[in-house]
């Protein structure tokens, strides 16, 4: 029986980080992701989406726990200090483990 457990890694962060975020994720073996526009409020105040640099995105990716851990570590080191970023993951079961 193959292991069908994966994690969903979710990153909510500033839209201006998109390209750098994606290349960091892909460099650790993330194969696919979904990006949606997001608005909300957090430690760094309201993120209204009025301006490009005030827009947030939410990036979700299904990957193995190892990949998620590596990505998290890199994002924390690179972006936590200066950018608005929230990162979390949770376990999911997938039907086609080979895909993720």
């Amino acid at each position: 029986m193959t292991d069908k457990n994966r994690v969903v890694l979710t990153v909510i962060t500033e839209a201006s980080l998109e390209s750098r975020l994606i290349s960091a994720m892909e460099s650790h073996g993330v194969r696919g992701y979904t990006i949606t526009d997001a608005r909300g409020k957090g430690q760094r105040g309201r993120r209204s989406g009025d301006w490009d640099f005030e827009r947030n995105i939410r990036v979700e990716s299904i990957c193995s726990a190892e990949v998620a851990a590596k990505v998290s570590k890199e994002l924390e080191a690179k972006f936590y200090r200066d950018y608005a970023m929230v990162l979390y993951s949770y376990d999911v079961n997938v039907l086609r483990p080979d895909k993720f």
Partner: protein
């Protein structure tokens, strides 16, 4: 002189924002409006530019770039010494004030048209050119000359940005098509210019109101800076315009370009290149204080200044 109705739209937006009305232009509409304005400004310049020899402009372009470099360098020590701002914040604010605002330029163009004052056709070119140097100076001020910087991604951010692409694109289309060529698209880009600008200012009023709440947070220094810096810059710009032999309208326009502070291109570039700077501080100054000041008081003032210098 009567108040231009487009300014009343700005005031309406401001009032709506202050009473926390639900009024907002849909995001996509605002995008479209800014695209139309950028293209219209570019087209208008391009049509006129077709009748000139571009090479003659080179010394002027160089002088204007020098001004774009000098203004943030002047602002920076005031921000660090008098304002006691941390270095990255001071550098970011300085960059905002060295760069330009297309919105302010559009209002100035409408103002000068109403006052029947003509100005040199290549002003949109100066508008594009002035966006850039201050960003580079700002990064240099924040990080020092030796700092490692990904110039490739930064230059992509600057030159592939919507503002530069549409302004330059409009200039080229106008240049190639000429007067007769643009006749067919005149209703959208030229005849409707002021109406579109009025809608733009309505939205800008709402956005400005949202910033006003932050003004108190940053204290009086920022208010004083955000009003005195554009006035100083306008004096520099008008003087330079006069030295370069521009017309009264051109001199006023260069003063206005110098006085205006960026709120689109520079914030985006600073967020990527100087992430430790507080983006809300710069935007509060440039959008919350300087933009309304320039639009309502500044533009007529700088026009007077240009006339006075030429006397």
């Amino acid at each position: 002189m009567t108040l231009d109705p487009i300014l009343l739209f700005f005031v309406l937006g401001l009032a709506a924002g202050l009473i926390r009305s639900e009024l907002r232009l849909p995001g996509q509409v605002y995008e479209l409006i800014s695209i139309v304005l950028l293209l219209a400004i570019g087209l208008k310049g391009g049509v006129e530019l077709a009748q000139q020899n571009i090479l003659n402009l080179l010394p002027q372009l160089a002088a204007v770039i020098a001004m774009g470099v000098a203004l943030p360098l002047v602002a920076f020590p005031f921000l660090t010494k008098l304002g006691k701002l941390p270095r990255p914040d001071a550098a970011s604010v300085a960059a905002h004030y060295g760069s330009v605002s297309v919105g302010t330029y559009a209002v100035a163009a409408a103002y000068l048209a109403t006052a029947n004052v003509s100005y040199e056709a290549h002003m949109p070119l100066l508008l594009v050119i002035l966006e850039v140097p201050a960003i580079v100076v700002g990064i240099w001020l924040a990080k020092g000359a030796a700092a490692r910087q990904n110039w490739r991604s930064l230059s992509h951010e600057i030159f592939a940005g919507k503002g530069v692409v549409l302004l330059l694109g409009g200039l080229m289309i106008g240049w190639i098509a000429g007067h007769e060529g643009v006749e067919s698209i005149k209703p959208v880009f030229f005849d409707a210019f002021k109406g579109v600008l009025a809608l733009f200012l309505l939205e800008m009023g709402v956005l400005t109101a949202a910033r006003l709440a932050d003004v108190r947070r940053y204290g009086y220094f920022l208010v004083v800076f955000a009003i005195s810096m554009p006035v100083f810059s306008a004096i520099v710009g008008c003087t330079l315009g006069w030295l370069l032999g521009l017309s009264v309208g051109g001199t006023a326009m260069l003063g206005i370009l110098a006085a205006s502070a960026s709120y689109i291109a520079v914030p985006a570039a600073m967020r990527i290149s100087v992430p430790e700077a507080n983006p809300s501080l710069s935007l509060t100054a440039s959008l919350g204080i300087t933009f309304p000041f320039n639009v309502i008081v500044g533009i007529p003032l700088y026009h007077q200044l240009a006339e006075w210098i030429h006397r």
